[in-house]
């Protein structure tokens, strides 16, 4: 197996994902990601000349909603997930000011 993922990359990705990984978890993640990249390498062996990149596996397009209000007051359900709340709002550590 080639060394595609450096320790710095793992460090950087975990900062972006806001994850604190143990040494063992970092090694595991590194192995997983390398497997993924190897799979991409396999795909890259295919000749894709003249083939449009796709973002979706189904040939579906233009799925729309009409602009009509259907939902009512959803605050009770929404706030049921709040660890802390105040004034009908989620309460979180200070972010501004």
């Amino acid at each position: 197996m080639t060394n595609k993922i450096s320790d710095e990359t793992i460090e950087y990705v975990s900062i972006l994902a806001q994850l604190e990984l143990t040494e063992q978890e970092k090694q595991d993640a590194k192995a997983d990601m390398e497997k993924m990249l190897n799979y991409i390498d396999t795909l890259n062996e295919l000749n894709t000349e003249g083939i449009e990149p796709m973002s979706h596996v189904f040939p579906v397009k233009n799925v729309f909603r009409e602009d009509i209000v259907i939902n009512g007051d959803g605050s009770e359900d929404t706030l049921a997930n709040a660890p802390l709340k105040k004034d009908n709002s989620f309460k979180v550590p200070k972010t501004i000011g």
Binding site: Y12, I15, L16, Q18, S55, H56, F58, V60, K61, N62, V63, F64, R65, E66, D67, I68, V69, I70, N71, D73, G74, S75, D77, T78, L79, N81, K86, D87, N88, S89, F90, K91, V92, P93, K94, T95, I96, G97
Partner: protein, 476 residues
Amino acid sequence: MAKQYETVIGLEVHVELATKTKIFCSCSTEFGGTPNTHTCPVCTGMPGALPVLNRQVVEYAAAIGLAANCEITRVCKFDRKNYFYPDNPQNYQISQLYLPIAKNGYVEIDAGGTKKKIRIHEMHMEEDAGKLIHDEWDDTTLVDYNRSGVPLVEIVSEPDMHSSDEVTAYLEKLRTIIQYLGASDCKLQEGSMRVDVNLSVRETGMKEYRTRTEMKNLNSFKAIARAIEGERTRQIELLEAGKKVVQETRRWDDNKEASYAMRSKEDAKDYRYFPEPDLVPIVISEEWLERIRERQPQMRDEKIKRYKKEFDIPQYDAEIITSSRHMADIFEETSAICKKPKKVSNWLMVETMRLLKEYGMEPEEISFSPKNLAKLIQLTESGIINNSVAKAVFEKIFTDDVEPDRYVEEHKLGNVSDEGELLKVLQKVIAENPQAVVDYKGGKEKALGALVGQTMKAMKGKADPGMVHKKLRELL
């Protein structure tokens, strides 16, 4: 000699679209309201919830793109922009990076008499984030997701502007276009239009760009102008001192008239965009685009030209009337009924503008119906009421949209057309003011004015002053 510097400015303008529902769910977009009442699993990022695109968002975005001379991307897609912040419950914002709905456009501005094109790099659709409110009491932050998922169009200009005047002209142009389309009310103070200013300075004549900063939190045209001046000065001072401008996002504090760098982590700009797997591509057919094109209203510049040509309205007046599409509509509808465009223009330019100012209202809030203004003009033109009565009646039309003919009749405001009654009053006035009569006969024209005034007073204003004048001369 001191170096000369040129300011280089590009803008990112966010506009909240005037849809009834959010971009990906059927929650209301109504402004304000109790926190979190306009929320559902989609706009609060619950696992498994799936977004479905609001058709109207595509229509508005394409209409704005067309009006700004853009190419419309016929197959466009959404992408995920990943970041962690409490205003963003999904930990990603659905936006467009790779295939934005419109690109390569321009708008023409007129800054200080010079016409100039400001190019538009691209325009994309995205969702708004929730609102964070600082709670003074607990020193915490409260999060309201009512705004989460409200549709936005972000319009990114090329760095084609060089002064706050050009920036203001560009923003006013965009705002007018979007308001004419009915796609947004574009209120800076309420945040339905938000402007980020990207600014750098360079020595005059220099070709390449220097490092730029991005300025946020600009809530009025005046704040934008002050922030541009402030940032230009700050960057020039850094360069003169041999220091470097750091690429960063700065927050403008309009009270202190100063900006400060927002806390930024080194990873802040790594959004790891990737195609949004929960939404299918949008294909805009020629037929669909044609339908949107057909619905485009006549824009302000064409209206100004037409008013000057068709109605002989001066440039300045045409500019004022067309500054709001609502006012332009009132002008056109009223003129169509009474066939007196110049009179209509006068009522809008003078009395309407005065009353708007008095009540602190915007032209969009004008609520009287064109037929009532048209009737008022007809009443005045046919001599049924005089100008001062007309002004008083117009105030009632402006505030309560009263029907002027009925109002005039109910309040007996019509000119007294009975010559016998007028003569009686005139004779009385002449008898009571012998000195004025002597003065007039002695050649003092002014004395006649005093007698007209006395007569109008005695008639409680319900006489045609021209007629009074004429009759007085005859009698004397």
